[in-house]
Symmetry: D2
Subunit: 435 residues, 4 copies
């Protein structure tokens, strides 16, 4: 992933150094297990751990050079580790293992750890949304469906619903982590042909992974689910960002991204203050979405494995996770810093909407008074059209309409903002229930 969108603390899980370090850890734990089982000589694990090379840029370069000969990166890794140990006991490294025992368990470990970070980020977004929901639950705004004025709602309701959705994504990320927090050291085709299952148990326990039956590799439905959890998370963020973009429009002006001192909205038009952060989030959601397909296509490997998934995962898993971390953090900042223009929102609701947002209330008042629904609908629709066309207050039009004939008290109730928002606390109740 390009530097711009790669949070450092996530990127570090996916460097060559991190990968090799995780692989070395698997190898050393396997020797440890073999020693405990009496397969390897006593003391060898400790001595190899002491002799093991430091995983640094030089080590990576040496493996790269070796791969030029072996054309097999794990074989190259094992060769270099053993050579660097400078002891015949190094032959116990990778004993009875197949490459994937090491690589796939290490990858699962890297992804599990990275998802741990994403879970924190995800919780932070949930939290930011909850905070803004509580803050703004009493701030009215015109609810819009199909982009048209519908009925009043509040900013807090918007935030609360996003909060609940973001929480569902957090749960999805957690499940995906549980699904990938697994390991396998069961040999070339998963039969433990030359390895004691106790080695797998020992290594996985030490790494916090669950040992699972496998072919040469872990099943790829697990990895696909990780990508889906990222894409679902990003889709929710896309929804939040779309809301911001819509509210920020020049024609609306009910919310805006924080605009920094010195910021330029446009290189040519000095008046511009654009919701560029939100737009960026929408774009990146598209990128993350595209990775899901590749993940699903990786599931049907041939027989006990083919390696076609590997090139996909080298690119897509880190990219998806880094981008998801990026969008989670940017989204949390966007939410936290979002400027709510309550007065503009109220102006839309009270003046610009002409009061049409209460049309259902009027319809129901007429139905309650005994009109059949279709007739009532047509009466209210006609009045609404008049109001919209002539840009007059809907209530005035209704008052002047003989067919309507609702008394002032009834109209007062129909047009009562507090009444239509009376249940708004339920949104907050729902987020408080998340605990």
């Amino acid at each position: 992933m390009i530097r711009r969108y790669a949070p450092r603390d996530l990127a570090r899980f996916f460097t060559d150094e991190s990968r090799f370090a995780a692989m070395l850890e698997v190898e050393l734990l396997a020797v440890e297990a073999m020693e405990q089982l009496g397969i390897a000589p006593s003391g060898v694990a400790e001595r190899l751990r002491a002799a093991a090379p430091t995983i640094d840029a030089g080590f990576v370069e040496e493996v790269d050079a070796r791969e030029e000969i072996t054309h097999h990166d794990t074989a190259a890794f094992v060769d270099v580790v053993q050579a660097r140990c400078e002891t015949p006991e190094a032959s116990w490294i990778h004993y009875g293992l197949t490459s994937s025992d090491v690589v796939d368990t290490a990858l699962a470990l890297q992804v599990t750890r990275a998802l741990g970070v994403l879970l924190v980020d995800s919780a932070a977004l949930v939290s930011a949304l909850a905070t803004r929901a509580r803050e703004t639950i009493d701030v009215p705004v015109t609810g819009r469906t199909h982009g048209m004025f519908a009925e009043p709602t509040t900013f807090g309701a918007k935030f609360a619903l996003f909060c609940l959705q973001a929480e569902r994504d957090r749960v999805r990320l957690g499940r995906a982590r549980d699904g990938i927090a697994v390991g396998k050291l069961s040999g070339a085709v998963g039969t433990y042909s030359n390895i004691d299952p106790a080695v797998e148990a020992h290594v996985c326990a030490a790494l916090g992974l669950v040992p699972v039956p496998a072919t040469q590799v872990l099943a790829r439905d697990r990895h696909a689910e990780v990508l889906y959890a990222c894409a679902s998370t990003a889709a929710t963020i896309e929804a939040i960002a779309t809301e911001v973009r819509l509210l920020a429009r020049g024609d609306v002006g009910e919310a805006s991204e924080h605009f920094a001192i010195g910021q330029k909205g446009s290189s040519s038009m000095p008046h511009k203050r654009n919701p560029v952060k939100a737009e960026r989030l929408c774009g990146l959601a598209r990128v993350i979405r595209g990775y899901v397909i590749a993940g699903l296509e990786d599931v049907a490997l041939w027989h006990e494995r083919d390696i076609s998934h590997s090139s996909v995962e080298r690119v897509v898993l880190p990219d998806a996770i880094m981008l998801t971390g990026y969008v989670l953090r940017q989204a949390a900042a966007l939410v936290a810093g979002l400027e709510i223009h309550a007065e503009t929102a109220r102006d839309t609701l009270e003046r610009r909407s002409l009061g049409l947002v209460y049309s259902q209330s009027v319809l129901l008042a007429l139905v309650s008074r005994g009109l059949d629904r279709d007739s009532a609908y047509r009466i209210v629709q006609r009045a609404a059209t008049t109001a919209a066309t002539e840009q007059r207050s809907f209530r005035e039009v209704l008052e002047a309409d003989e067919e309507v004939a609702l008394d002032a008290g009834v109209l007062d109730e129909a047009f009562d903002l507090e009444r239509v928002l009376a249940h708004r606390h339920r949104f907050i109740d729902a987020i408080e229930e998340l605990g």
Copy 2:
């Protein structure tokens, strides 16, 4: 495809009857060729054409019943055709052919013909857009970038750009049709093992298809390109529909879908007039987009073919083509019927935008007068912020700003709508060049 979105004249290409009729035509043309080549006895082609069954619902049922036994639909088709001919000469049907010679050539024919219809629909959309472009090229509207007021443009410019883009899609559809207007009758693995290449040449010529080298089947990059051309077409329509939705918003009101007498915008809110047609087009663009992936996944068949593409194409090719026809027609109607609210648009431009849409003109006037760009930018940005915050006319703020110091003539020119739109004829020129 569900009835709601399946134009009848496109659906008819994909009925079982159409499919079998196309297959029968291929079979009969092949006999004709074999007779001309002296392989089949003289007169057999004419006699078989006379004896050939009518392809109707009864025929389809009989093939279905036969497929229960053969578990092979083309074998079932051939069996039923031969049985219905009621003559031993019927054994010349399918002689030397493999199923795919018939099925794949027939499918290419069906798709080619259906694309012919789409090309007409596509031209109609281009034409509708061109008409509206010419009509509205002088109707100003606030150009918006990032959803924010940017600079003035005209409705005609919007239509013209969509017109040019729709025309590119028409070209893409045409290329896709050229790519799929091919046939093959070269036997089980494409080697003409038991068939004279002249048969292929004859059949294809009669059907207007180009004979091409093949395995058992035509290469699937051709079919994938059809799906992509559909998806690109739908993406352009999504862009048009998104523009309509944005302009139709309650906060904007500069355009609206035609609203019929008796129409209900909402079952509960009588005041609603929603851009539902445009929203539907956006949704269907997503559906069509999803088919592209399946099409690309079909390309890598095994060896001389596996049949995994077949189930995909039974579903996806008709669905994509029918939906594309549907969205093309709906889009053309949407464009033709779109109500442009020129006065509202002018009100936004002149009043609601506060004149900020001329900020670049002011910036350049300052730069022309010798200010360095960054300083000029900051001066104009400050004035723009004042105007926006205090909801004052940008020009008034500038006039009151001592640092600005531009005389009235310069400001007149900067704020001259006619000046900034002086080149709008170029959009029309571009569509006239399409010829």
Copy 3:
């Protein structure tokens, strides 16, 4: 979905009749609730339930005709229901509701019920795989990685791993059902502006749905997850089908699809017996996969909803669910009927593989005897190359190689099939743990 791939018992959930019946049920339950709350007059719910129209083809036609006028299908539905009730009390139908209260809750109900069927199908596939795993756990087969002979495994291990994976999909489908088993009757923008929350509680309880906070509609991450669960299920089936296709190859012949009496494998080549069912499953997995993207794109609706998701869901939700049902059943049948050719498999393992499948065992024997790993590797690799090139028994080549120098007992152990398969019971243990 085309008839061929639409299981009837799933298709019935998605007919117009089913949809309207579910909507009517929501409407009637809402009246019931309003009566209990004292909003609607006593007895009205029962009288309306008695007066309510039968939902049949005639009803659907009438709604269609009405929609021609209203251009709004729910408004049309409500109009027809009320007219058919032939009582002024019918105005209580849809009282205080918005279309989506009815449509979205009904859709969630339809999908929840359909997923209930898929869960049964999914369990049946898990069960079929478990049965075959137990049956064939002792039947050896050459494990292949990268398509090349690797080490021995058993057919039962293959089935068991697929069983575990199918079970994970069953869990995913169950979670997706839990996510979609929700309802909302909270009005135009989800604020309960004109409806008592108790109505929602009553209706949802009666339908087995959980009431949740919403905008005008339920959040679409729920629907996207349904599509993903289908795609993951299909990807697993693609993996199973790919295994069948690979084992069935003419070059392998270790398994084959059941071939019926009278079946024709090819219309032209009478000798063909093709794995067409497995190929079809691979194709349909592609189709289902494509729907996920559209589902994710539906998540970011505008404000309190736009209706772009609706056209997507009319097509994609039924199609995905029907296809998933189809592939689940076909996969279960494929698995149950799969013919295992144990003798051919053993011939590959013992003769055609030349014994190379034991190369790691020999390598480890050498390392155990003190050779460093890389040297041992090169010795064994050389012997393996000789065996492969000269098509000689790997063991004979080793015995003739002075550098190898392993005595017969050691080689016996290295080449002991029972030894390498000693842990195979673990695969069965894992499926038994599923309970």
Copy 4:
């Protein structure tokens, strides 16, 4: 893109330095044009070109630092360029331009140039396939459909068909390049509000781009088509790689990837020689495929543009192009180095297939002798089943079958390999026609 899959000569087009250099070139050419038009003072273009900063790592860092303040990367770029010029005349830089005039034209230039490289790579793959086709057109191999033995073909036919398909992709890449080889310098909303169209004409001509009508940005159907051309190219390569993987299987052994001295096929199993290059190509095709969706989602920007496409394109365009270059080159090398095992192939054809590959020839011989097709089919099918079950020669079974009763001369012709391959030159003719 990770280093492993990023060809350097392609990566260089997408560095920050390259991007800024292209942008600077656009800026300087624009000044040149303005000078020629008499807008800018005489001599300014040359002086600014001399004063313009070198685009190096230091420049990039300075822009990055400036972006921290402006939150707008083009504004930051312009600020730094102007500051570094150290002359008041620098204010002519970006005069009348909007960011996208520069950024979008520069991006089109970068992509156009990179596609120029891909076109060379694509031609090299076509050429490699043509060479192998000519070399191996006479080398017979068993054609396989559904993975089962079908009829004989030749390796050359396989290569030739891939060659024709790769050539179609080359044409697609060329069209995509033509589509993206465009520029725009028409200001904030494409109206040339503050810029003479002659500036655009001059800049584009100098860069080899075609000036086109635009909004603030070029229409994104152009960029999407680039991504599709990459994905189609990759899908063809996936098909080639799949063929290699299938032929290389341990059970088949008719082709293999070149295996280098010192190479290790597996870290644990010394006998392994795996088609890992081909598998990698299959994986990367999946990655590239996923980018298409993001590209199509970018098409529907809001109004005169939103910037959501930008983050997508920063990631996806370079990644797709670099990966496509990588897979094109790897595929060409794979094709050129592919080892064909003609003797193994002939053994399959003559011995392992039991002669069943001639079953259609026998069927047609029977039909020619007057049998009805269905009866002939069942007779041949029965004989084929006997041959397969008893592993006997198909011809012997036929000779022993009284119902068959074909004399030796007829059977000789039916089983004549040269006869069934007589038209193989047509594959070569087709590639020669490419010119």
